[in-house]
Subunit: 254 residues, 4 copies
């Protein structure tokens, strides 16, 4: 496979130093390790070893979905971590053909994950009240060629969800409880509600309101991610970890 | 949507009591709450409230992917938890069209998640040495209509991986280090290696061997899942939790 | 050191099987491993290997403070785990000579730990409204010879704390917020308030009330204890763990 | 109670800003909030509100043991966290009169906790090979008036432990396994071995060697401490946490 105009490319120098760039003819990329021109990359095979202008070696690597979403997306908001996005997507059964409603869009990180999974026949309807966030998210999704699987809606989801027979409703909002009756109506039977919530108070209120609305199988949980520093005979967890990202609430429409 | 012959149906009595059954003409299903006949279910709308022969109410609900995989699959082995399966799938970029190699198949829980995500144009090649596990996994996948996206290979993955240009290799094996050079060869540039490992010693050995084999961006981590008991004014974590499922190791082919 | 009448003795058969008994002349102790008479134990050296009547070997071992408190105390209530008792004691600066107020007494597990630490010149004033719990706790403390360091008070701590110039007030109550003004008055300058709280709602209310009452350095936290199964080449965390015991709130009187 | 020459005093400005100083006639203490002279403090009652030279109010508060140990001790080494020190002390049954062996001394933080608890009749024998650490630890202990309960031994504990009939041996060493036979000999029956270990490999080797040496009730565990940010309606765990301090191994001499 060959590097082409418009590709997102991971330039790998070492375990601590790797960068993602978009290859656009005429561009130059400067790092501590030296300068690289887009023309140095175009037409090269992925996997090749090249050198910067001062001779430092690097590898040309195809980045993963998460590399682009979490390292290259423009961010205007707090974003959902991969561990949480992954569990939301799987528990909500998001896959090819799924029809998903999301609110709010934010920077579009979760939107991108969902859009990636529903291709080619599914769709993500994403609600956001702040137009500038929609523009950011749209640019982000375009970077990955996922824009066509997303319907951006500049609207307050608290005023209603127009879609019907939806497979999952994913809420990353300050007050999800105000949207649950709309979510209920929009979902198909067995459809999944998934909420991401920073505080335990939001969890309490959301779970209560979900039960009142008629949702079943209401669950609240959180994931703690612990990274390890692995070296022969000196293996231990990392000294610092993220202590909290958010709680997750799941429920089903009966 | 209407319940049809062959459907998997979730019969919901209460938050603590719900069962999944396969609707096959002539079958009867017995629970503490009473007996239900397949004919009571066929032709009903999902979401309807029905009654058992002794009058206990229940709802007919469409189960989720995970309901079926984790509650209905026949199990012969330890299975990977949803939290781990979800992160493996997302970090490995598994989506529509992905070409994945998995070993070993085990009961096919992870196979099912991967197959669900690669539809309709992707494929999961799954290696397993024990024929009886392959048969179990095949029956399990068939239950979800996912069999056609999987190539079951009765073979020892330590002797080689035949596939080329693979997007991700997912290993749930006692000695993954013995397979890493095969995985490396099978992967495309930027392709992801994902390993599930019960002991820290396996992590140490796998990480070392991955580095030696030429993999980059080698990471080891684990996820802890904490469930909450939520009631207004009495919210707290569950008193018991799963203390350990397994460690995850991820790496990329450069 | 020699086993004497009245001693608490740990009879060690194997890592999975060990029992604590009180040696009282004339008693017999029956286990799956056979019968032991008190007379077999009296006068023996701690550390000796003996045999039951059917010949199974065991060791006579001096139990630790925690062995007795957590395995031999009569329990009528939920008890505070060692991890929590330990941090409470240390953060509250409990040591020889400390004057501590505790409420409620419950089964006296925490009382015993505190009493053990304040010897010989300190004292634990422990409030409890239910007389039967006081009797249980008194018997438990007597077992360890710690009764003389404790003043049992059959009183509702919400109606006031009589003591003054106290080093620490330790609360294990359903509604600690109702006692904070009394605790504040009873504490010396720099004295520590420590609360054990099962729900997050109690934490919120206690922290708020502590700030309002004038306490400073108000902190809320929890400890998660993870045990490991250690075997050469097969080391991993235990599969099950306690997911929650309680939250801890600490504060100081300025 | 009145501030006296030589006192350690906590100057409390706000929840985020408080400092510990030693009151020595003639000293001045400078902070962002202004300057304070020792003479401003001497003779004042603990608890009084005073002002800096620019008029910022503060409280004079008696610091706790941990305030001094963890914020005022001179540090030359990694130190054991309070959560770990607390559990070690309690599981080892450290209390008034205990005779404890510790190695290595390091900066003396754990030594101070142990010495505080064994007063007035107990003693901590602490081994350390590096003379400069002994001097640091001695100065630190003197600050708290705990020096007299400690015997500092400039010696390599791997060459032997001279003491006999010891209640607990506490090891914070890179290679504790090399000391276990000495620890075994030094301990009384039922005496506790407690080890603090940064890596899982050390745990594996220590547990194995402890079993081989004849220790019983060998346990390995770790404590995770999670702090909360508590505000009415916005309560959640802190976003960052310490991901790892060290593992703990406990065992008994039978």
């Amino acid at each position: 496979m060959i590097v082409q105009e418009g590709d997102l490319v991971l330039l790998y120098f070492s375990e601590d130093r790797h960068y993602i760039v978009k290859v656009t003819r005429g561009s130059t990329y400067s790092f501590n390790e030296g300068v690289i021109r887009a023309e140095d990359l175009l037409g090269r095979h992925y996997g090749e070893v090249l050198r910067t202008h001062i001779g430092v070696k690097f590898r040309v690597v195809r980045p993963s979905l998460l590399d682009v979403v979490y390292r290259k997306f423009e961010r205007r908001t707090q974003v959902i971590y991969p561990k949480d996005a992954a569990l939301i997507a799987l528990k909500a059964g998001v896959g090819p053909g799924s029809r998903i409603v999301e609110a709010g869009t934010g920077s579009g990180c979760l939107t991108a994950v969902l859009a990636y999974l529903v291709r080619p026949s599914g769709v993500v309807y994403t609600y956001e009240v702040r137009r500038e966030f929609i523009e950011v998210a749209r640019r982000n999704l375009r970077m990955l060629g996922l824009e066509e699987y997303v319907v951006f809606k500049e609207a307050d989801v608290r005023e209603g969800i127009e879609e019907q027979n939806i497979d999952a409703v994913v809420l990353d909002l300050a007050e999800p409880w105000a949207v649950l009756h709309h979510a209920y109506k929009a979902l198909r039977n067995g459809g999944v509600l998934a909420c991401f919530l920073p505080t335990i108070n939001q969890v309490e209120r959301t779970v209560e309101e979900a039960r009142r609305t008629g949702f079943i199988m209401v669950e609240a949980e959180e994931l703690l991610e612990r990274r390890y520093k692995v070296r022969r005979g000196e293996t231990r967890p990392e000294l610092r970890m993220v202590g909290h990202t958010g709680y997750l609430v799941f429920a089903r429409k009966p």
